[in-house]
């Protein structure tokens, strides 16, 4: 099996643009809806991050918290999340999906158990917000063995020495956190300064695909064209929340905003 994530990056490089990564929360605002959302936004997004909602999340801001609590309240379970991925892949076999969440859910499920089912339903990558290096070494190694991409995170606080160590143990995709913030904060520093830091890291490992996330919206996305990929999350969660309040169909709302985002980077 080819690595779909790598293929996606290869493709956008040929198109000379960054990859568009979306983040939506599984089960928000229902199992069925979140599957429909995935299907429709995948027409524009290159890689889909799917959040596993957790109720003691320590790195996510208001928008994603709201989505996560809504999904949990509506009864979403890990087994439903796997079902969503499986059903998605039935029609969109080639579109890479990355599950993103907190380590406790994996821990409770059992690491091996979790990875086996990920493999079975077609998960391509994993991001665990609170399993940093070196704590993640063993798990990352297990992912590698299963052909699942374990995505490490880098932050503005990460020292060069530490970056080098992390890069050494990382798979081919890496996530750079744009600024000191939870998800969904306002951009506190200029896109230019962010891209400077980004490029400094990029030089340390020109071959790996590094995406940027946290605080990026349709207003700023075009400033990050120089990156390998851009992640939009909170804006999507916020759009969903608004559409519910306004009794609009979240599927079409999200689909149109992702289309718009895509338009800004091609």
């Amino acid at each position: 099996m080819p690595n779909l994530i790598n293929l996606a990056f290869k493709k956008v490089k040929q198109e000379n643009r960054p990859a568009l990564l979306t983040y939506t929360v599984a089960g928000d605002n229902s199992k069925k809806k979140s599957l429909e959302i995935l299907k429709s936004i995948s027409n524009y997004a290159d890689i889909l991050e799917l959040g596993m909602p957790h109720n003691a999340l320590v790195a996510d801001g208001n928008q994603i918290q709201t989505s996560a609590y809504r999904a949990i309240k509506n009864g979403i379970k890990l087994k439903d999340i796997f079902q969503i991925v499986k059903n998605f892949k039935k029609s969109k076999k080639q579109k890479p999906i990355i599950l993103m969440g907190y380590y406790n859910m994996v821990y409770q499920f059992g690491e091996n158990n979790f990875l086996n089912i990920c493999k079975k339903v077609g998960v391509d990558g994993l991001i665990l917000v609170d399993l940093p290096w070196p704590e993640n070494k063993n798990f990352s190694y297990k992912c590698k063995n299963k052909g699942i991409t374990f995505v490490q995170l880098l932050s503005p606080t990460t020292s060069v020495k530490r970056i080098k160590k992390i890069l050494k143990d990382s798979h081919e995709m890496i996530y750079y956190i744009s600024m000191l913030s939870t998800t969904g904060g306002k951009l506190k520093i200029s896109p230019k300064a962010i891209m400077n830091s980004y490029n400094r890291i990029k030089r340390l490992c020109p071959k790996k695909n590094i995406v940027i996330g946290f605080g990026i919206t349709d207003k700023s996305i075009n400033k990050f064209k120089g990156a390998n990929g851009v992640v939009i999350g909170s804006q999507l969660c916020k759009t969903l929340t608004k559409s519910i309040k306004a009794r609009q169909n979240p599927v079409t709302k999200l689909s149109s905003i992702v289309k718009k985002l895509k338009g800004k980077i091609i």
């Binding site: 957790h54 109720n55 003691a56 999340l57 320590v58 790195a59 996510d60 801001g61 918290q65 609590y69 949990i72 379970k77 890990l78 907190y102 380590y103 406790n104 859910m105 994996v106 821990y107 409770q108 499920f109 917000v129 609170d130 399993l131 940093p132 290096w133 070196p134 704590e135 490490q152 995170l153 880098l154 932050s155 503005p156 606080t157 990460t158 020292s159 530490r162 956190i177 000191l180 913030s181 939870t182 904060g185």
Partner: protein
């Protein structure tokens, strides 16, 4: 898995900062790796620095008011006709609870690190009150995160925090109690770690906070040990140390100096919050066999469902109303150095009634949980057994709850 003698328990972790290979650690967002690393280095340096220790001791003595009294509860002892009952009245410390030790040390650390701004969580409001007090004393800005439910039920402490000039940030997510306050505080730190110093209010959170807090509250048992020897001439043959356990800072501090004694000579009894008798909910992960999970950066026993979602707790006592518990206590439970049990809301209220009936002492609802178990057991113990309860908080903060549950008579404070 075993406790090593002669080494402080807080230092008995492996290279990943785990106790017994299972509890604690640093399960944190990448952004926090550096500030935590910086704090770890600072703490390591200062705890071995004589100047800093002098400073700490100076403030413990002159600001906190060490040592807090160690008194015999004569009437209660006579009434129960069992063991000899004593209290370590930690609530006499400045601010009214043990939370002052950790708060003071954190402000001293913040000062040394050059930071001018401290943030912290609070449940019962004591951790927040003390952090705001110490911040004021040392000229630091302060912001306290507190669940909306706790803000309602612990008004006296909320008022004190505000009076100290700190901002109280209400947290509306989840169960609106301590667990959410800690999450929110950590989130705030993620976004502001370059200029804010974070203090966690108990022996929970990422490893360095567990260690700083345990190191700070250990002052209690350092005092107690010499007070016991003063009182009895030597260490009695049978001592039982009862303490309520929320996050575990008060109990850990109450026990630390006695760690190396045989557990038959000095027994540790931790009392968790069992919640209302008729409710399924509780805040007693050690008592009711909760599974190990990750919460607030550390592996610990924690109330959760099979999917790993943290479960809502329920307790009359805001200070104990937390679904997890210190990795140090998980370790003490697994190596069986301490015994853990729970008291219900109703048990705690009964104990409060009995203690205040017989003694000139008004323990807050947290230590009332400990008194409940101590009283039940003391009745059956022989008179050569020394029962000591850590009365680590004052009931004034609970006056609304006491009035509602027990009537006006029990809610008079002057």
């Amino acid at each position: 898995m075993k406790i090593k003698k002669g080494i402080p328990l807080i230092d008995q972790h492996d290279k990943n900062f785990m106790y017994g290979g299972k509890f604690g650690g640093n399960f944190i967002p990448e952004t926090l790796k550096k500030p935590i690393d910086d704090l770890t280095k600072l703490f390591h340096k200062l705890r071995n620095d004589k100047g800093f220790l002098k400073e700490r001791d100076y403030y413990f003595e002159n600001y906190v008011g060490a040592p807090t009294p160690f008194i015999k509860l004569d009437n209660l002892t006579k009434h129960l006709k069992g063991a000899q009952i004593y209290a370590k009245v930690v609530s006499e410390a400045n601010g009214g609870a043990h939370k002052i030790y950790n708060a003071t040390v954190h402000c001293l650390l913040a000062r040394r690190s050059g930071k001018k701004f401290v943030i912290g969580d609070t449940g019962a409001g004591y951790a927040g009150k003390m952090l705001s007090m110490a911040a004021k004393k040392f000229g630091l800005k302060c912001k306290i995160f507190m669940g909306a439910k706790d803000i309602k039920r612990q008004q006296p402490n909320v008022k004190a925090i505000k009076k100290n000039g700190a901002e109280v940030v209400p947290v509306y997510s989840g169960s609106q109690t301590l667990v959410d306050a800690v999450s929110e505080c950590m989130r705030y730190w993620v976004a502001n770690c370059n200029h804010a110093h974070m203090a966690v209010g108990s022996t929970v959170g990422p490893s360095i906070f567990v260690r700083i807090c345990g190191w700070s509250t250990s002052q209690i048992s350092r005092e107690l040990k010499s007070q016991i020897i003063d009182e009895f001439g030597s260490m009695p043959k049978k001592i039982k140390l009862y303490n309520c356990v929320g996050g575990g800072s008060s109990s850990f501090g109450f026990w630390n100096e006695f760690m190396d004694y045989n557990r038959k000579q000095v027994e540790f009894i931790g009392v968790e919050a069992g919640g209302p008798t008729k409710s399924k909910k509780h805040a007693a992960p050690l008592t009711y066999g909760s599974k190990i999970g990750i919460l607030h950066g550390a592996a610990q026993y924690v109330n959760q469902n099979s999917d790993g979602q943290i479960e809502e707790t329920e307790s009359i006592s805001a200070g104990l109303d937390y679904p997890g518990v210190s990795p140090l206590h998980c370790f003490l439970k697994d190596v069986k150095r301490a015994r853990y049990t729970a008291a219900s809301d109703e048990d705690a209220l009964e104990a409060y009634k009995l203690v205040t009936k017989y003694e000139n002492l008004k323990p807050s609802l947290e230590p009332s949980h400990a008194f409940s178990v101590a009283i039940k057991e003391a009745r059956k113990l022989s008179k050569d057994t020394i029962v000591i309860v850590n009365s680590c908080g004052d009931a004034h903060k609970d006056k609304d709850i006491l009035e509602k549950r027990l009537g006006k008579k029990y809610a008079k404070f002057n």
